[in-house]
């Protein structure tokens, strides 16, 4: 155990003291997110589109409508409820406020009817900005109408919009792509240790191969998790990407990231057993990872790919990792079911671990 802890510590020190490794692991994927986010983010406007459905002709309803219209951050549009909800589902509205028929009369009778606020729960800004501003408007109306007790009772109706923005689609792809790179290129550590004859030197000590590999795995898995977490948190804070933030989805996401990371690390070990030097490893790893970045549905939906390429795309490990990551992060229909994606990554892991063990050389 002491040996495992010390080896993990040694690998960690080697990593954090290597600025290039830090850049490629953390800053590079983040740059991708920032660049794509700035290009594709649709939330650049400072106004939020709000649907207002007013089915009540009372003066009280008039006050509420006037108050909402006076809020600069809202771009109001009216219509019937069905159309506005459809627009919300399409992502063209941030929220829909529905004043029911007879609302003014219900206030007069002393038991006010609720006012529905429909919003998209997958958008952080809806919960953190749009809804609070609406509630603020409601308080203004309360004071205008009664000065005593609240009469505008909000009722929250949440839904999940189907339409995804480009950045919603791309961030899970970048997470998957970064896991692939961290995995495949992470294997360079073993290649480098072998090239510098450190593996030979370690072979002359009682430390076991299992301990050696475990120490490497621990660091690599911590890195892919940290990398994914940073990417997702930054994308969420800066670009308000859609994210299923329930514990189940997040745990599943962590599991998929680790599974994908292990599978790609095994692929990296396999590639590393054919290259003698660190310099020789990089081009080989590039040849394997670079094409996948473009055809595995990282940046473009798989539907955009030509049919003749689909059989190839469907077996690539990055396709499965990207689809699984996207499904867990933003939900919705995908072309590959979750079970298939997980099974495919597990298969890659088993096959390439077996090959890597078989081809392993100390020198």
């Amino acid at each position: 155990m002491r040996a495992l802890a010390q080896l993990t510590l040694a690998n960690t020190r080697e990593f954090v003291r290597d600025r290039a490794a830090l850049f490629w692991t953390f800053a590079f994927p983040l740059l991708f997110v920032l660049i794509f986010g700035l290009v594709f983010s649709r939330d650049s406007a400072t106004q939020y589109e709000i649907g207002l459905v007013n089915e009540d002709a009372s003066p009280q309803a008039g006050v509420l409508v006037d108050t909402l219209e006076a809020m600069d951050v809202f771009d109001l549009s009216g219509g019937n409820l069905a159309d506005e909800i459809a627009s919300l589902e399409d992502g063209d509205r941030r929220a829909v406020i529905a004043i029911p028929s007879g609302w003014g009369a219900s206030i007069d009778s002393g038991s006010p009817m609720p006012v529905d606020i429909h919003y998209d729960e997958t958008r952080q800004s809806s919960q953190q900005v749009v809804v609070p501003v609406i509630l603020q408007a409601f308080e203004v109306v309360d004071r205008t109408l009664t000065r005593s007790q609240p009469v505008v009772r909000p009722a929250f109706q949440t839904l999940r919009s189907e339409r995804l923005s480009t950045i919603d689609f791309i961030v899970p792809g970048i997470v998957a792509f970064s896991v692939m790179n961290a995995g495949v290129f992470g294997a360079v550590n073993i290649v480098s240790l072998r090239e510098r004859r450190v593996l030979r030197r370690l072979q002359a000590t009682p430390v076991s191969r299992l301990t050696l590999v475990s120490a490497d795995l621990i660091l690599r898995m911590v890195l892919v998790l940290a990398q994914s977490a940073i990417l997702i948190v930054v994308a969420r804070l800066v670009f308000d990407i859609r994210l299923n933030s329930d514990a189940g989805s997040l745990a599943g996401l962590a599991g998929v990231v680790v599974l994908g990371g292990l599978a790609f690390l095994a692929i990296g070990f396999f590639l590393g057993s054919f290259t003698k030097t660190e310099q020789g490893f990089f081009p080989v790893a590039q040849v394997v990872t670079f094409p996948m970045m473009f055809i595995s549905g990282v940046f473009f939906p798989l539907e955009f790919m030509p049919d003749w390429l689909r059989p190839v795309i469907n077996v690539l490990p990055l396709t499965h990792l990207a689809e699984a990551t996207r499904q867990l992060m933003i939900g919705g229909a995908t072309t590959i079911p979750m079970g298939v994606a997980v099974a495919a990554m597990a298969a890659y892991l088993v096959v390439f671990v077996a090959l890597a063990v078989r081809l392993f050389r100390w020198e």
């Binding site: 010390q6 080896l7 020190r13 080697e14 510098r196 004859r197 430390v207």
Partner: protein, 304 residues
């Protein structure tokens, strides 16, 4: 008591007989040297003893264990320094020592080893910032983390300046004084003469001779060596035919001839030079060395 025993050891890589029937035994608290040029089979022999390479045939025992069968237990008991290892560049010196100590379930050994190898001041330095000689000393320190009774040193002073080399020689003498056994490979003649109780001279995968450095020289050279430079007027056979000369060799413009009767040989040489108009320069008289033994036995110099 022998702590290392090797009988008819053989190892072939493809067509190359790297080790071709090597036998020797190393006694406890002995410094045993393997002397030979690169490619002589020293490293292969040592790495088989360390349990790092399988052998083709022959019997090998280290501390009574067979490195081919019991490498796991053997590795706990031996200290190993290998050639051309470049350790973790971004670890500090003391961190590397503690890392290796952990493989043996030990801790807190860095201070002692750093002072033993004269690296106290480099304790917090990154490995990549060490000089070549300091890196060599660190790799010797790593061979000591488990306080082993046997230490294998594979060309430990390569790349060291003369001062660092002498300081490591003192450390190795201290190992011996502590009762440790040292198996050392080298292609430095002075190193073998200074440190080794016995030397095995190796070439082309075979041991040509095994003895103490003094006895090796005495057996092969009862004579003293006369060295001189010439332009190229005198041939080897001509020099060997001079009175009392038993053996001569020419390396470039430098000639070594071994004589039973130095005054007679030297007088004849000077006369021959004068007759032929060949200036005899940088004339020097010295004792024969291991280098001469090696040259006589193999026809090559150690650094070929």
């Amino acid at each position: 008591m022998s702590v290392i025993e090797v009988q008819d050891l053989r190892k072939t890589y493809g067509d190359v007989k790297a080790v071709d029937g090597v036998s020797f035994a190393v006694e406890v608290a002995e410094v045993f040297g393997m002397l030979g040029p690169n490619g002589a089979g020293k490293t292969t022999t040592v790495e088989i003893l360390e349990g790092l390479r399988p052998r083709d045939s022959g019997a090998v025992g280290v501390l009574g264990m067979d490195p081919g069968r019991d490498a796991g237990n053997l590795k706990r008991k031996i200290g190993v320094q290998l050639q051309q290892v470049s350790l973790y560049p971004r670890l500090r010196v003391a961190e590397v020592i503690e890392l290796f100590a952990s493989f043996y379930g030990r801790a807190g050994v860095a201070d002692h080893l750093l002072s033993l190898l004269g690296l106290e001041e480099r304790r917090r330095a990154f490995v990549k910032d060490l000089s070549g000689g300091q890196q060599q000393r660190l790799s010797v320190a790593l061979a000591m983390v488990n306080d082993p009774p046997i230490i294998f040193l594979d060309e430990p002073t390569t790349g060291m300046d003369p001062q660092a080399r002498r300081s490591l020689w003192e450390t190795i003498e201290q190992f011996k004084a502590e009762g440790r056994t040292v198996l050392l490979t080298t292609h430095y003649m002075e190193e073998a003469e200074r440190l080794c109780d016995r030397v095995a001279v190796m070439d082309h995968g075979r041991i040509i001779a095994t003895d103490s450095p003094e006895d090796l020289v005495r057996t092969h050279f009862a004579e003293d060596a006369i060295e001189f430079s010439q332009r190229n007027g005198l041939a080897e056979a001509e020099i060997e035919s001079l009175p009392a000369v038993v053996n001569a060799s020419i390396q470039g413009d430098r000639v070594s001839m071994f004589s039973d009767d130095v005054p007679a040989s030297m007088a004849a040489l000077l006369q021959l030079g004068q007759e032929r108009g060949e200036p005899i320069q940088n004339l020097r008289l010295r004792r024969a060395t291991l280098e001469d033994v090696f040259l006589k036995l193999t026809g090559r110099t150690l650094r070929d």
